[in-house]
């Protein structure tokens, strides 16, 4: 008896969720560019995951030299050509995407959650010392340019991917704190929040169950658009030598290596650079599409 009730309850809840997703997909697909962006992104993600299996020369991503095949232009054997040391650029680019995506995921994973929570608490307690403390700390972090701070941190510690990611995460959370602070402080005066307060719901409930769900959409959109920026930041750090270290195939690192041989051996720089552009563009298009999904226009 109890099982029956629970089951119908669960079924109904799931059915409702599915309908919501279907409607969201409909709105997303109205915009062909967003769909293209999503397709490209999916391809990139899949390629990155299955890199060892789908690239022609997976071993070129590890320490490898073959000077006889060095500096070859794009051909049917080496689609993007080879670099100075003889490694296939195409395979390295695909492996390079692994680093880029990892940076994006880790940074946002590390930075978004604390930022959102702090912004939520500050927004709900607007006008009190809690808000003051949180937001002033946020202001301090926001005042420092991300690149400079990341530079400083990676210069102090050993330059590697892990430190680079932490450095960027450290500069990223304040933006989310600000965003959610603005949202939470305006949502605070909504009737449904007032209702929950009058009922006697705990502050935790109000912040995380009433206010937070209404912040979801802008945060999701921002995260998607941020992925592109974070990836670019990571590539920049690698480019100046503070991120992914050679011989690892970071996209920024590859651009730096190939830059020395411009314009003659253009393939060494252009292809990794293009790869960066494409992944950022894909994220931006998906982000735009998400924004459309979340902005509901009532007829």
């Amino acid at each position: 008896m109890q099982w029956e009730e629970r089951r119908t309850d669960l079924q109904a809840t799931l059915a409702q969720r599915r309908r919501g997703l279907a409607r969201g997909w409909y709105r997303f697909s109205r915009n062909p560019l967003s769909v293209i962006g999503l397709a490209v992104l999916s391809l990139i993600v899949l390629a990155a995951i299955f890199a060892p299996y789908i690239t022609p020369y997976p071993e070129h991503a590890k320490p490898y030299t073959n000077f006889s095949a060095g500096s070859l232009p794009p051909s049917s054997t080496y689609w993007f050509g080879t670099d100075r040391v003889g490694r296939d650029i195409f395979s390295r680019v695909i492996f390079g995407y692994r680093f880029s995506l990892t940076i994006g995921i880790v940074v946002l994973g590390l930075g978004v959650a604390p930022g959102v929570i702090l912004g939520l608490v500050a927004g709900y307690h607007q006008g009190t010392w809690i808000e003051t403390i949180i937001m002033r700390i946020t202001d301090v972090f926001l005042a420092v340019p991300p690149l400079v701070l990341a530079l400083a941190i990676t210069a102090m510690l050993t330059p590697n991917l892990m430190n680079q990611m932490m450095a960027i995460a450290l500069v990223w959370w304040p933006w989310y704190a600000r965003l959610v602070f603005a949202l939470a402080s305006s949502l605070r005066s909504e009737y449904f929040v007032r209702e929950a307060e009058l009922t006697g719901a705990s502050k935790l409930h109000i912040m995380f169950r009433e206010i937070l769900p209404n912040c979801f959409a802008p945060v999701m959109t921002k995260m998607t658009l941020d992925m592109g920026i974070v990836i670019l930041l990571g590539a920049t750090l690698s480019f100046i030598g503070l991120g992914v270290q050679p011989p690892k195939p970071g996209l920024g690192t590859m651009v730096a290596e190939g830059a020395k041989r411009l314009p003659g051996e253009w393939w060494g720089t252009i292809f990794p650079a293009l790869a960066i552009v494409i992944v950022i563009l894909a994220f931006n298009l998906v982000g735009d599409g998400l924004r459309d999904v979340f902005s509901v226009e009532e007829v």
């Binding site: 409607r23 409909y26 709105r27 007829v299």
Partner: protein, 328 residues
């Protein structure tokens, strides 16, 4: 009185995720010169869509005109070019909407906005006014709506004024163009009762003076009774009953109108009816025939087969209901 505006069998739809909403379902409405006509209906009946169609300000995706004509002084508005439409909106038509804060630009003073309108309408009539003339016209327009201290108001921003004053400014703006047809969409719904009373009286006076026609859209029967000579009752995208206001309100004929009148709380204190059972139809899949039939207690066989035409009941009083088929 000659015919000024005639909406003939207007069908308008909207394209959305789930399909197409067939909202306006053959709207028939006419307004004569110098006449005050009410358009009464509840949320979602299509009255704002109708007004926006006349002004051609519906966003055309997702809206789409499926058929019909809107004839203004002999010409079909729906077929007009953009230039013709602009000229029409400038000189012939004018509108007041429900929320004056949305109609007034918050970052400009009242004076700036009013002067723009006065100058623009003068240019349209082929005249150029000096600065003093423009100023005088503005002050006059404000005075006509009963604003105290118009000179000071000209320097204020919309947020500094009360709701009633803002709406008076919107009325001043609307009437300063000397348009022939005023479309007023719930102009006093958000205002206090005493202020509403003042403003409606003033509107009445001004419209009388200028000889303009008014289409007063509202969900309040009381407002329509005080202000209009004829009234159209709208339900689910079409007019279900039309006629002289007092007559219609005292003795409504269409079942929907009857239900509506019964639901209005009365000062006589006889209690409130349970309202009308059911909901407004889903425009994705509206009921066949008469759109009100699922909720109607006088429903007959024919009602779900074909939309009833208007049947004449009395002096200019007509209802779109098969109950009155023999009477006409």
């Amino acid at each position: 009185m000659d015919g000024l505006l005639a909406i003939k069998d207007l069908h308008v739809g909207f394209r959305i995720f789930e399909g197409r909403l067939h909202v306006l379902n053959g709207v028939l409405l006419d307004v004569r010169e110098g006449e005050r006509v009410g358009l009464v209906g509840e949320t979602g009946c299509g009255k704002t869509t109708t007004v926006k169609s006349v002004l051609r300000v519906l966003p055309t995706p997702p809206a789409v005109v499926l058929g019909g004509e809107i004839v203004y002084r002999g010409r079909d508005v729906l077929k007009m070019s953009r230039r013709q439409m602009t000229a029409l909106r400038r000189h012939e038509l004018t509108a007041i909407f429900q929320d004056p804060l949305q109609s007034l630009n918050p970052v400009f003073t009242i004076g700036t906005q009013l002067r723009d309108i006065v100058k623009d309408s003068a240019i349209g009539q082929g005249r150029r006014l000096s600065r003093r003339e423009v100023e005088a016209r503005c002050i006059q327009a404000l005075q006509e709506t009963g604003m105290p201290d118009p000179e000071r108001i000209m320097t204020n921003y919309p947020v500094q004024l009360s709701g009633g004053m803002r709406q008076r400014i919107c009325i001043a703006e609307a009437l300063s163009t000397n348009a022939r047809l005023l479309l007023a969409d719930e102009p006093t719904t958000n205002l206090d009762v005493t202020i509403q009373d003042q403003i409606l009286r003033k509107l009445d006076e001004l419209v009388d003076e200028k000889g303009a026609s008014v289409v007063m859209i509202t969900h309040s029967m009381g407002v329509v009774r005080d202000l209009t000579q004829r009234v159209n009752i709208m339900y689910a995208g079409s007019i279900v009953e039309a006629g002289g206001t007092r007559v219609l309100l005292e003795a409504p004929k269409h079942p929907y109108t009857r239900g509506l009148m019964a639901s209005v709380p009365k000062l006589t204190g006889e209690g409130i009816s349970e309202g009308i059972p059911g909901r407004i139809p889903n425009y994705l899949d509206p009921p066949s025939g008469c759109r009100f039939h699922p909720r109607c207690e006088h429903r007959m066989e024919i009602c779900d087969q074909e939309s009833p035409p208007f049947y004449e009941i009395g002096d200019g009083h007509r209802a779109a209901c098969y109950l009155y088929q023999e009477a006409s």
